[in-house]
C-alpha cells in the first residue's frame, strides 16, 4: 500500500510541477492569448 500512496503523491507532484513549468515557459492561457497591449502581472 505504501508504494500506491507514494505513486499518488508523485502523481500530484508531477501535475503541479508540469503546471508551474508550462506557465514559466509561457504556455499559460493569458500569455498565449493576450495582445501586446495587455500588461500581465
Amino acid at each position: 500500500m505504501k508504494t500506491m500512496i507514494i505513486a499518488f503523491v508523485a502523481m500530484f507532484a508531477l501535475a503541479i510541477g508540469a503546471d508551474l513549468a508550462l506557465e514559466y515557459a509561457g504556455y499559460s492561457t493569458e500569455e498565449r492569448t493576450s495582445g501586446d497591449a495587455v500588461r500581465l502581472g
Partner: protein, 404 residues
C-alpha cells in the same frame, strides 16, 4: 351586392398575382436553376443539404460583394459601400474577411468557424449517447457476471505461502498510471456530461469551480499518465508478447466462467496481455490527441494523418471520400477532441473490466498490486507456468550456492 362582388374579385386577383411569381420561383428552384434565385441557394441545394449531401457552395463562398463597385459618396447610396451585411457575414464565415483583433494567437482572427456546429452536435449528441451507453452496458454486464459467477475464489484454498509478484517499481508505475487515469476519466466525464447531468442538479454557480478543477486536473494529470504509461511499457513489454499458452487460455475462457478450470499461464495470461496492449495502444493514441489539444497550434495532427490516410485509399474505399487535408486550428482541435473522447470511452470500458477482475471479481488479485505478494495457491491456479519457472529458478540458485 355589387360592392361585395367587386371586393371578392379584387381579393382573388391579388391572390393570383401573388401566387404566379411564387409558383414560377418554386419551379425554378426545383429545376435547380440558380439564376431564378438571384444567385442564392435553390430548393435543390436545401434538399441536398437536408439529405446530408455535400453541395458546391461556391455561389455563396464567392458572393462577397465588391467594395470597389460602391456608389460614389456623392451618390444617394454612397455611404452603404459595395458590400451588404450578408456579404460581410459570408466573408467572415469563409475566412475571407479582413479581420483585425487585439488578441494575439494563430486563430484569433477567425470569427465564424464553419465546422463548429457539426462538432458541437456530435459532442452533445452521438458522442454522449453512444459513449455513455457503452459505459452503462459494461457496468451492467459486470454486475450480471458478478451475480451469475460470483467472486472467483481460490479453488484449492489459500496456502499462506507468499510469492513476490510485482516489485515496488512495477507497482509504482501501475498506480501512477491507474491513479491519473481514474482522475482523468472522471474529470473528462464531468466536463462532457456536466451540462446535462450535473448543472440541472447543483446549478451553474456550484458547477463552475468543479469545471475549473476538472480542467486543471485534465490538463496537468496528463503528464503523470504519460510517464506511467511509458514506465509500464518498458517494465512489462517483454512478458506481454503472445505465446502458444495464450490460445489455450482464450479457448478455455481463462477459466473465468467455470470453477475448477485453470488454463496454464506465465507471468501474464492472455487476458492481461489484451489489457496491456489495449492500454498501450489506446494510451498512446489518447496521449497524442491530448498533446494536440494541449498545444493546438504547435502540434496539429489530423491534417497530416488525413494526408496519409488518403494516400492509402481506405477512406475512399469505405465511402468517406477524400478527407480534408487542410484544416484550420479550430478544426484540428475539434477532430482531436472527438477522437480523444471516442478513444477515452473505449479505454474506460476496458479498464472497468480490469478494475472489476482485479478487485471484487477475484479473491487474492488485489494483493498483487497492493503488497506486491500473492498466495502461492492463487498463483498456481492463475499463473501455473510462472510458478514452475520460479521454482526452477529457486532450485538452480540453491544448487549453485556454495554448501556451508
Amino acid at each position: 351586392m355589387i360592392r361585395r362582388i367587386l371586393a371578392s374579385a379584387a381579393v382573388a386577383s391579388t391572390c393570383v398575382l401573388l401566387s404566379v411569381p411564387n409558383l414560377a420561383d418554386a419551379q425554378g428552384m426545383v429545376a435547380g436553376e440558380r439564376a431564378n434565385t438571384g444567385g442564392a441557394q435553390t430548393l435543390e441545394d436545401i434538399l441536398a443539404r437536408q439529405r446530408g449531401e455535400k453541395i458546391d457552395d461556391a455561389f455563396r463562398k464567392n458572393a462577397l460583394g465588391d467594395p470597389d463597385s460602391a456608389a460614389a459618396l456623392s451618390n444617394q447610396l454612397g455611404t452603404l459601400g459595395g458590400t451588404s451585411d450578408a456579404e460581410v457575414f459570408r466573408a467572415l464565415r469563409y475566412g475571407e474577411a479582413n479581420v483585425t483583433v487585439s488578441a494575439k494567437g494563430p486563430a484569433t482572427a477567425v470569427v465564424i468557424q464553419d465546422g463548429g456546429m457539426r462538432w458541437l452536435q456530435l459532442r452533445s449528441g452521438a458522442l454522449q449517447e453512444y459513449g455513455g451507453n457503452l459505459l452503462i452496458i459494461v457496468l451492467i454486464a459486470l454486475g450480471m457476471f458478478y451475480l451469475l459467477r460470483g467472486k472467483i475464489m481460490v479453488d484449492g484454498g489459500l496456502s499462506g505461502i507468499k510469492l513476490i509478484r510485482f516489485k515496488a517499481v512495477e507497482r509504482f508505475g501501475h498506480w501512477l498510471l491507474a491513479g491519473s487515469f481514474i482522475l482523468l476519466g472522471l474529470s473528462g466525464l464531468i466536463t462532457l456530461f456536466g451540462r446535462v447531468a450535473i448543472i440541472p442538479v447543483i446549478g451553474k454557480d456550484a458547477f463552475a469551480p468543479v469545471a475549473l478543477a476538472c480542467k486543471w486536473i485534465h490538463n496537468n494529470l496528463a503528464w503523470p499518465f504519460m510517464i506511467g504509461l511509458a514506465l509500464v511499457f518498458v517494465l512489462w513489454i517483454l512478458e506481454n508478447f503472445p505465446n502458444r499458452h495464450d490460445i489455450k487460455w482464450i479457448l478455455k475462457g481463462g477459466g473465468l466462467f467455470s470453477p475448477g478450470v485453470h488454463p496454464p499461464a506465465r507471468k501474464f495470461n492472455a487476458g492481461q496481455k489484451i489489457v496491456f496492449w489495449a492500454v498501450i495502444i489506446l494510451g498512446c493514441s489518447i496521449s497524442a490527441s491530448g498533446l494536440s489539444l494541449l498545444f493546438p497550434f504547435e502540434l496539429p495532427m489530423f491534417a497530416k494523418t488525413f494526408v496519409i490516410l488518403n494516400d492509402t485509399g481506405i477512406p475512399q474505399l469505405i465511402g468517406l471520400g477524400e478527407l480534408p487535408e487542410e484544416l484550420a486550428p479550430h478544426e484540428e482541435m475539434q477532430y482531436a477532441h472527438l477522437w480523444h473522447a471516442i478513444v477515452a470511452f473505449v479505454f474506460m470500458a476496458v479498464i472497468l473490466a480490469h478494475i472489476y477482475i482485479g478487485s471484487v471479481g477475484m479473491q487474492g488479485a488485489f494483493d498483487a498490486m497492493s503488497t506486491g505478494e500473492v498466495d502461492r495457491q492463487w498463483a498456481k491456479e492463475h499463473h501455473g507456468i510462472w510458478v514452475e519457472e520460479l521454482d526452477r529458478k529457486a532450485d538452480a540458485e540453491a544448487k549453485s550456492a556454495p554448501a556451508e
